[in-house]
């Protein structure tokens, strides 16, 4: 294998994005995935940032969603109010696929990006929701990036920042949220999806060279793995796009 698991994550996420979709992305690897998708599987996808930039040219990879690089060659430079309204809009919101990351995830794809430990006196404080809670509340589906390490896949979140399927089944809709929720969780070892009925996470794929047991060893809750398939390796074309077109300086990879 001549690529890193981080590169594999970006490629796996890029493969999830469909042509003509509006892709909401945040800072870091999600940006790389969205950029890669445009060159691999979804040339007509539109990259969209919560800061209000729509269809940025992205000649260089931005270091944050407010990086001046996201403002160049756009179709429209709006503000946060426009950007989130587009996601909350009944007609445009369902067309958006959101890419999110988090510190913790539970079996129903709910996310914590706020704090570990007690909220008021946390052991570790993170950046907070940013737009993540809004995106997770509004858009048609989300793709989530997670590190496959102990303590990240938990039974109960220390702080519940962004909604997935809440307690599973129909609980998301019953709480008053839009239909939607996570379509896939992409980690550095494999891919999880959610059962159609129960909305509980199951293992759907594992990367080349990864053992299912290694994945299970990091999980604080049981996940079903009967449906797990081997994920096709990163191709030479995909790697070339990632390394030579999207991130030649290696800032994200």
């Amino acid at each position: 294998m001549d690529y890193t698991y981080r590169e594999m994550m970006a490629i796996a996420a890029a493969r999830e994005i469909r042509d003509n979709e509006i892709v909401f992305c945040g800072t870091g690897i999600s940006m790389l995935a969205a950029m890669a998708a445009k060159h691999i599987s979804a040339p007509n996808s539109v990259i969209f940032f919560e800061t209000g930039a729509i269809d940025s040219l992205l000649e260089e990879i931005p270091m944050a969603v407010a990086d001046p690089r996201v403002m160049y060659g756009t179709s429209f430079n709006g503000g946060l109010a426009d950007a989130f309204a587009t996601m909350q809009n009944r007609f445009t919101g369902p067309q958006v696929v959101g890419i999110l990351g988090a510190a913790q995830i539970d079996p129903y794809g709910n996310l914590n990006s706020t704090a570990i430990g007690d909220y008021h006196q946390p052991k570790v404080r993170f950046s907070g929701s940013g737009g993540a809670c809004d995106v997770a509340s509004f858009v048609g589906r989300t793709i989530i990036f997670m590190q496959q390490v102990k303590g990240r896949f938990v039974k109960k979140l220390d702080y519940f920042t962004s909604p997935g399927y809440l307690e599973g089944g129909r609980s998301r809709e019953l709480a008053g949220l839009r239909p939607g929720g996570p379509a896939a969780v992409i980690t550095d070892k494999g891919i999880f999806r959610f059962d159609e009925e129960t909305k509980r996470m199951y293992l759907a794929g594992f990367y080349q060279g990864v053992k299912i047991d290694d994945i299970m060893a990091t999980m604080d809750f049981a996940v079903e793995s009967d449906r797990a398939l081997s994920v096709p390796a990163a191709s030479a074309t995909e790697l070339c796009v990632l390394r030579e077109i999207c991130d030649p300086q290696g800032l994200i990879r």
Binding site: G28, E59, A64, P68, A81, T161
Partner: protein, 324 residues
Amino acid sequence: MNSEKCMSLAAAISRFVTPGAHLSLGGFTLNRNPMAAVYEIIRQRIGNLHVYAHSNGQGVDELIGAGCVKAVEIAYGGTGRFAPTCIRFRKAIEEGRILFEDYSNYQMTLRFMAGAMGVPFLPTTSSLGTDIIYKWGLSPEVRQQDSRLPLDKLVVLDNPFKRQPEEPEKVVLVPAINPDVTIIHVQQASPRGTVRMAGLTFADVEQAKAARHLIVTCEELVEEDELRRQPGQNQIPFFYADAVVAQPFGAYPTACYGYYDYDPEYLQQYGQDARDDGRYAAYLEKNIYAVRDHQQFCELIGSERFARIKAASPQGYAVGLERG
């Protein structure tokens, strides 16, 4: 009247940013933070501030680091890859040194918008079922003590207008923010206070209009007549502004689209200094307390660094800037 609005940064800060003020800062993470104003607040040692931000990164972090902040209401504290979580912000919360309360980015934006519109709240469907609704950072006692704060963090209501099944069942009401003062840094402003921003406007317009007082710092002071030639390019009418300060590099070390990029060298060095209390004290002394004003701070940084981050046209950022 025009000339009254143009003033030095030191005068604008001492006049409008008083101890205990409720303050809102424009910009977003590493872009168009009103940094010259932030440094001036620190230099004047104005304390006990109650700060409102959506995703203001560097400005809020430095104010917290310098001990100016009592409480912060925020959606996101980070500067992208330079500090995925703002370092002094994180430390202050982990060590229990400031009050804080979390919202989502859209909620903070709507709160400023409600303030700007003069309504007590706006509804959204964001955050139903999450701890953003159930976990309050500011206690009922804290809210009781300051009449500028709403008594509730958020309120969930049944949608009174629901008729169609696809319409939302419930709405989350977010309370308006009307800060005592908002500070924004923009590309161009007139002496009267007409504002023209380039690139993304973030939530600056809502923040500016929600505040009792507005301080505008700008890269360039432009004649009112000139800005009126293309009024469609302007975002804030003059009567909102109380102070206009011509302040080149007023967003440095954050970026100002079309003028300069963020300074990766500064932000990286800051990140290292901010991790250690002793080094951070030295940082404050050298970069802020020991200099007279922002111009002298820029001289300390040196023209070579400014040449490196100068924005290219038409890109609006420093093409090929070493950011690793």
